[in-house]
Structure formats: C-alpha cells, structure tokens
Symmetry: C2
Subunit: 290 residues, 2 copies
Amino acid sequence: MGNAGNAGSPPGTGAGGAARFAVNQETVRQLSLPELAAACGDLGVAGVGLWRAPVQRYGVAQTARLVRDAGLTVTSLCRGGFLTAADPAGRRRALDDNRAAVDEAAGIGTGTLVLVCGGLPPGDRDLYGARERIADALAELVPHAAGCGVRLAVEALHPMFASDRCVVSTLGQALDLAERFPADRVGVVVDTYHLWWDDRAPAQVERAGRAGRIAAFQLADWCTPLPAGVLLGRGQLGDGSVDFRFWRELVTAAGYTGWTEVEIFNEALRARDGREVLAETLERFRAHVL
Amino acid sequence: MGNAGNAGSPPGTGAGGAARFAVNQETVRQLSLPELAAACGDLGVAGVGLWRAPVQRYGVAQTARLVRDAGLTVTSLCRGGFLTAADPAGRRRALDDNRAAVDEAAGIGTGTLVLVCGGLPPGDRDLYGARERIADALAELVPHAAGCGVRLAVEALHPMFASDRCVVSTLGQALDLAERFPADRVGVVVDTYHLWWDDRAPAQVERAGRAGRIAAFQLADWCTPLPAGVLLGRGQLGDGSVDFRFWRELVTAAGYTGWTEVEIFNEALRARDGREVLAETLERFRAHVL
C-alpha cells in the first residue's frame, strides 16, 4: 500500500496526482446515505468518505451494498481514535471501540480508518505522556487492523484542538507516531484545515510521501471569525486563506496519487440543500484545487 | 540587554529565575490606571504590562508619573505590529503607528514593545510573503526603536490567529525573524497560551535564551470550549491544560531572569471586581507557577 488508500488514475481531469475529487459525508450531512449516493451519481462523483454513526444507523452491510451498487469508492471511514485515556477501563473501552471501527471499515470496503487520537484526560497536563499512550494503543490495534486489510491513518489536528480532541498537532508528530509501524499498517492524513499555517508541514509532506504514508488528503478552507467551540467553522473551498493548489502540488510532488476528499464541517452549508452544496463543492474544487 | 526587559532579582520568593509576578493590564481591564496602581500597591505587585489605548487615554506623561510615584515597573507595552500590509499606503501607516508605539513605550519607561505582527491581507493566501514583509518592516523600525532604548519583541501567536492577527505562529518563526537583527534590538515573547501545545517550543526557548532574546514571558491558561471569535477565551492560571511550572523552569533554565507577566483576556474575569481578580491571579501564580 503506498500513498493512497485506493488505486486507479484520475479520470477526466488530465491533472495527474491528487486530482480525484471525493466528498466526505459530513460536508453534506443533511443527505441520507441513499441521497448521497444518488447525488454523487448525478454529478459524476466517484468517491465518498463516510462516518461511523450514519453507517451504523444505515447498517454496515446495507452501506456496503449501497456503495457497491452505486459504483462508489469509499475513500475513508472517520473515525477511530480517542486513545489517550490513562485509566485501564477507559483504555480498554477505547481499544474495543477502535477494533469495531476497523471491522466497520473493512465491512464497507475501505482500507483507510482515520484516527482522531484524543486530547488530554480531565485534569491531565502531560501532552508527552498522552502521545506515548497513543503509540501504545496503535501497537495493540495494528495486528487486528492488518488482519482486516485496514490501514490506520493518524490525523494531526489543528493546535486549537490539542486539549480536547487530539494531542497530535503537527504532521511531524503524526509521522513520529506512524513511523513506529510499517507504512502499510499506519499512515497519516494530510488535511489542509489543520496544517495550512505550518511552515514545517511541506517538508513533512515530503517525508510522508517518500515513505508511502499519505493515507488520505483532505481539504477545507480556513475562515474567521471562528464560531463558538470552533468545530463547525471550516470554510468552503475558496472562501478562506488556504492556497489549495500549493497543497495539491505538494502531495502530488510527494508521490500521492489517491483521492482528494473535501471534508467541511460548516453550519451554513448544512442548512442548505445538500445536492446544491455538493454541486457547489465540486465547482469550487475545479476552480480552486485543479 | 539580555533575557529580560528589566534588571533586578526576585524579591521574597527565593525561587530564582522567572519568579517575579507582573500583571498585564488587560487581565483586569475593568480597573483604571490609578485603580490598577493602587491595587498593585496594596498587594505588593511591582510590575505591570500596559496597553497603548488606555495609556493614550490617560496620557503618556501622566502614566509615566503615575507608575513612577507608585514604584511600579512597566514590564512591557502592548502592542505594536500589524506589519503585513502589501499596499504602500497601508505599509506606511503601519510603520508610522509603530514608531508612535515606540515613542509611547519610551515615554512610559519600558524597554519592551510587544509586536503582534499581523495576519494575511484580505484575499491574500501567501503566508511566506507576509512573513517577509514583517522582516522588512522590522528593518525599518529597528533604528528608531534603538534610538529610544526600546527593544521590539516579536510574539508568536497561536496558529488559530494565523490568518487574521499574526502569521508568526511558532517561537521558531519568531526567532527566525528576530535573529536577522542584534539581540538587544529584537527579542521574542514566550507566551504559554500561544505555545503550550508545541513539542518543538522547548528547544526554541533554549535557542532564544542562549542568544539573550527572551524579552518577555507571559502566562495564560488554555481552556475549552473556546468562545466565538476565540480572542477572549484565555483561562485563569490553573483552570486549564498548561503546565506552568514546566514553562517557568524552561525559561529559567534558558537564562531568563525577568518578569513573569500574567496576561489573560477573559470575559468572565472582566465582569468581576478587578481588585478581587488581581488578588486571585496572584494567589494562582503562587499555587501553579512558583
């Protein structure tokens, strides 16, 4: 497994590298899975990133059948992770949940499980210890994931999420964790929303690509002011500060040939017609990424 | 000028290094300057960090007299900066404003002007270009600042401010800028709120300290959820995720012997009695920093 969860060349764009558009389900969460599959069919979108909760609600086997019948590739499943619990019971629960996530990923036919690794436990201030617990948990999960043909994809989250969602804040840290394991077992996610500000990220993309560890490439724009809680402030492509061509060229130069998955959490987009948002997102992708 | 804006040894604590408490005016912005001076006198607080707007309202000469009569040291003036304008008129205005800020710093008797360097101009996505414009602006400002006995202190802001407030997001980037100039002309700010998440910051603190470039050490805690706009979400010491002893030991090991300035922007603190907040902050400093 190299710099992509799925093989194949970009159809119809002629741009090469990371030019294949996929939509992450959360970008258009107002669409049910069948609505999403239909909208993708109408617009010629061939890849979708899915989330565990809607997949569980619809059913893993039913989801697998739906995407197969629609001719869709599942580019990733979001998300496992939250591996920083310090107490034995919390740790055991997290490992069990992640093994279930691996099974779900395999069940819907994707080889990529995205991990949001977890923040600091309540009252804990030890970032270094939390990162070590993530490494320990990965070591426990890798054999099961490997047996299922699923690669774990460590995602660095923006530093504003360091305390409550993910103590892995840079691509360099994500690689430090991933490199303790074979590249076909643990990869990393390159997400522009989380990494765009970091002048050291380009060198880390190169490091990731050289080792064949780029498991997913995700896009969202950076817009301000951020909303309360900051989670739902991601911007539509072109609305913010991210230079997407720079990032596409970066991952392409690093050898990545997989999907480019647009993953935007945004209240305003969710309040609109989902098919219209998907069409707009595809249009923005052509205007700002290709 | 070394790792401190002001000379002298820590009184009464016996802790050495960065053990001298100072309060930044914005932590208790509900207090007028005379009220702040009186409250500091009552609590034995000997250092204050001031802001331009309240100083301008009260008057530069009057502020100088007030702090002198109260026996207070002004540890820093916040803030100059916003040096990223790409158009000649905007750039000229910024330079003029920063020269005025230098004059005000000198006027109130502090040798440290904190710079928040500025975000991306509207529609601009070039972080690298913006950082170069900051370097150019520093080169224009340094001679005037040097003539006034004022050191420019480049502050790295948390990456969540990269687009709209400061494209300098890490201590390493701040040092890359500062090191183009002599250490007694351009230093850096070490602020826990902005740097706490970064595993590369400790090595950069060492780099800064070795070169005598730590111009200010500021504290606030990291708390979530962040409020809308994220600016006023800084936490009282001990309420969040920052390990303050780790940071105090870090700057102390790097040779810093200056003030430790507590700078918290927090709506809830501002809504309370300012003298009570100052007393609480001092108490928290003793409990969580010393």
